[in-house]
């Protein structure tokens, strides 16, 4: 009886210990020499739909000594998990896909990643868009965090039914001619408002972002000093948004809310200034609105929103092999495959003249051939350094714009208040 009790106790205690031990034994095998059959195992963390799971077997066939274990996660989960692992210095994968906004977070942590320039990544540079490549670099451009995967060049999605009702052209080529500058955009906005009663754009954020992203500099210089007061561009974007708010042509559908999603279907506004990948959201939210949405270039240039990089955390024991795989995965020919498979817009400009890429057809949109519009936009994006505190500044400016729109607040004092808030927050890092 007594013995039995001790036995039970023993198992109760042993169970969690062995469970922890089991889960632990997996972790080192990621980084260590890998599985028993002499193969090198690389762990690869990705997020969203990438289509990479179809490419991996191809690579494994070409390289029989390599085994790639891909773990796909949801956008936020993936980045949180990665940040925790890298912060803790344990549990990070051999390869990690990092979205452009999150690259900024790691700027202070160069020592946690391999410098891909050490593997000869400099030779690949010419294959990719310059602006895309430069975001993956450190501020002094001597360190490369990641190899470029996809991008999100921004364009002007517009509702053909609203444009028609407003007496504006419907054909994308004519629209591009008609709305060439932001003044043209303002004029069109007034016309839409007058004839249909609908706003030209969904909210303050996307119109502000559109102008912001066309500027050659953002909120910080490469020394991470706040330049927002000296640099005229952010203020210009702000002023233009204020002007549109005053004209009453800016909607109040906040980004990612159910109302915002719903209005893609009902046509709550005339234009959506958004990146290439938004086409999937439009199709998802408005499956029956075939030919109601068309795609034209944005006035006066383009920006970028989204896209990722593949980085190799310092913990990896097989950085060389990981680099070779990453290089192969983001090569132009494979970017074409992941575009056709998962809609990842390529960052290798040689594809933009590839007939297979340009012949891609999407029947949903009014103009079926959508890739050339995105490709043109991609080429127009400027090289901009954003810096690790970009989101902090952005949040305060949007808040100011919402106050101008919703509370009829004075734009100048809101701008000043936003800058004060930004400065106090920056002081504490």
């Amino acid at each position: 009886m007594k013995k039995k009790r001790w036995l039970v106790l023993f198992f109760i205690l042993i169970l969690p210990v062995t469970m922890i031990a089991c889960s632990n034994s997996k972790a080192p095998s990621n980084a260590d020499s890998g599985s028993s059959d002499g193969k090198i195992e690389l762990t690869f963390w990705t997020f969203g739909t990438t289509g990479y799971e179809k490419l991996i077997p191809e690579y494994e066939k070409q390289h029989p000594n390599i085994k790639i274990k891909m773990q796909n996660g949801e956008f936020n989960d993936h980045h949180n998990k990665l940040f925790t692992a890298i912060s803790a210095g344990s549990g990070a994968p051999d390869l990690a896909m990092i979205e452009v906004g999150f690259i900024e977070k790691y700027r202070d942590a160069q020592d946690r990643f391999y410098n891909l320039y050490d593997f000869g990544a400099g030779d690949l540079k010419s294959k990719y868009l310059e602006w895309k490549w430069s975001i993956g670099e450190s501020a002094d451009r001597k360190f490369l965090f990641g190899l470029p995967t996809d991008i999100g060049p921004t364009v002007m999605y517009y509702r053909t039914d609203i444009f028609e009702k407003a007496g504006l052209p419907v054909d994308p080529k004519e629209v591009a001619e008609k709305i060439k500058t932001w003044d043209d955009y303002t004029a069109a906005a007034k016309q839409v408002k007058e004839k249909t009663g609908k706003p030209m754009t969904d909210n303050v954020e996307l119109i502000y972002n559109a102008r912001r992203d066309q500027a050659p500099e953002a909120y910080f210089d490469r020394q991470d000093q706040l330049i927002i007061e000296k640099s005229p561009y952010a203020k210009k974007a702000y002023d233009y948004t204020v002007q549109l708010i005053k004209e009453g042509v800016v909607g109040d559908l906040n980004l990612w809310t159910p109302e915002w999603n719903g209005s893609m279907k009902t046509g709550g506004y005339a234009t959506l200034l958004a990146p290439s990948w938004m086409n999937a959201n439009i199709k998802g939210n408005a499956p029956n609105a075939k030919d109601k949405w068309a795609i034209a270039p944005m006035p006066e240039g383009a920006g970028n929103w989204g896209g990722s990089y593949i980085a190799i955390p310092k913990e990896s024991k097989h950085a060389k092999e990981a680099y070779e795989f990453a290089k192969w995965l983001v090569s132009p020919e494979n970017q074409l495959k992941s575009f056709k498979d998962a809609g990842l817009f390529p960052s290798a400009p040689e594809l933009y003249s590839n007939p297979e890429f340009n012949d891609y057809k999407d029947e949903y949109f009014y103009n079926d051939h959508i890739t050339p519009v995105f490709a043109e936009a991609a080429k127009k994006v400027k090289v901009v350094y954003t810096g690790k505190n970009f989101q902090l500044v952005q949040g305060e400016i949007i808040r100011a714009l919402q106050n101008v729109q919703k509370k009829k607040a004075d734009p100048e004092s809101e701008w000043k208040a936003a800058i004060d808030r930004i400065k106090t927050q920056l002081a504490r890092q």
């Binding site: 919402q402 919703k406 504490r428």
Partner: protein, 313 residues
């Protein structure tokens, strides 16, 4: 006495002087309760102590710690947004809690009434919001309290001739919308607590009062409410302390952290934003320490208060 007897029962091979049966008992007792304490130490105690340590450091989550002294606390205490978040949290607490108590007591009395049929059904129905996922509730409420003049709540307002309200950007619009959400989710929970309180009141008190000729209103006023007082205090403090932890409702109301405006900023949201948006883990931990102090004060007040209540009764 016990020890000697126990030792005699052991086989000679197992006999060790220091390893007595009594020690074994003690040891096995600790072993039985150890899983909780081990897990708590790793996942509860360590992070708690660490955040106290972190409150005096500068850290961005990746680099090295830099000792910052009291500067983190100073940053937080000098930040108007922090005080705004305190103000908001208290206001959400009051706006979410007071109406709850006013509504929950009559509801509990109703649910306790002898004439009510289908008691089990109503009791479960009123409790349902509590077991509904907070995220789902917040999404539904964010649609009801849409900014649009075509939003559900604004349409309802237009029926009674009122102007549409910007539920997500105006001071009181946000307060009402989020408090309504809190109210809806917790009113059933508190009703059930009140119901339990009502059922603890001895029925002979009512019988005696009826014999003495007291009307139902008088019974309510002189028997039910006084005897319910400890429960009222309990519910009030539980709700006000709970209010300090308000987080998911406002977050999902705006769909993303960068969208949360200062009108809805609660202390926990402020803390979270410092850590995970601004990468300022030092000030985030300093906020956590301040929140700890605030909740500690409230809990002590709660303790003193409820003790006094007990004495009165």
């Amino acid at each position: 006495m016990y020890r000697e007897g126990a030792e005699q029962g052991l086989s000679p091979g197992l006999k060790r002087k220091w390893w007595t049966e009594r020690k074994k008992e003690i040891f096995s007792g600790y072993l039985y309760i150890s899983p909780f304490f081990i897990l708590f130490a790793i996942f509860g105690l360590f992070p708690m102590l660490f955040s106290f340590y972190l409150a005096f450091q500068k850290w961005n989550g990746l680099g090295t710690f830099k000792y910052a002294g009291l500067s983190n606390l100073r940053f937080v205490l000098e930040d108007p947004l922090f005080w705004k978040s305190i103000y908001n949290t208290i206001l959400f607490g009051i706006l979410g809690t007071l109406p709850q108590i006013i509504v929950a007591i009559p509801l509990a009395i109703l649910l306790n009434a002898a004439w009510l049929k289908l008691k089990g059904f109503f009791r479960m129905a009123i409790f349902m919001p509590y077991v509904t996922s907070v995220a789902a509730v917040a999404i539904v409420f964010s649609v009801i309290f849409s900014e649009q003049s075509s939003g559900i709540m604004n349409v309802v307002l237009s029926y009674i001739g009122l102007e549409p309200v910007s539920w997500k950007t105006t001071e009181w619009g946000v307060k009402v919308a989020i408090s309504t959400m809190v109210f809806w989710r917790w009113v059933g929970y508190n009703t059930i607590i009140f119901l339990a309180g009502l059922q603890r009141i001895p029925p002979d008190l009512y019988e005696a009062a009826t014999i003495d000729g007291a009307r139902p209103i008088q019974q309510l006023w002189h028997i039910t409410l006084p005897l319910l007082k400890p429960v009222i205090v309990f519910v009030t403090f539980l709700s006000t302390i709970g209010a300090w932890q308000l987080f998911v409702e406002p977050l999902i109301f705006y769909h993303r952290i960068s969208g949360v405006r200062e009108e809805a900023m609660t202390v926990v949201l402020y803390l979270w934003k410092e850590a995970f948006v601004n990468s300022a883990y030092g000030t985030a931990s300093a906020t956590a320490v301040l929140l700890f102090i605030i909740i500690a004060i409230f809990s002590i007040l709660n303790l003193i208060f409820s003790k006094n209540i007990g004495r009165v009764n």
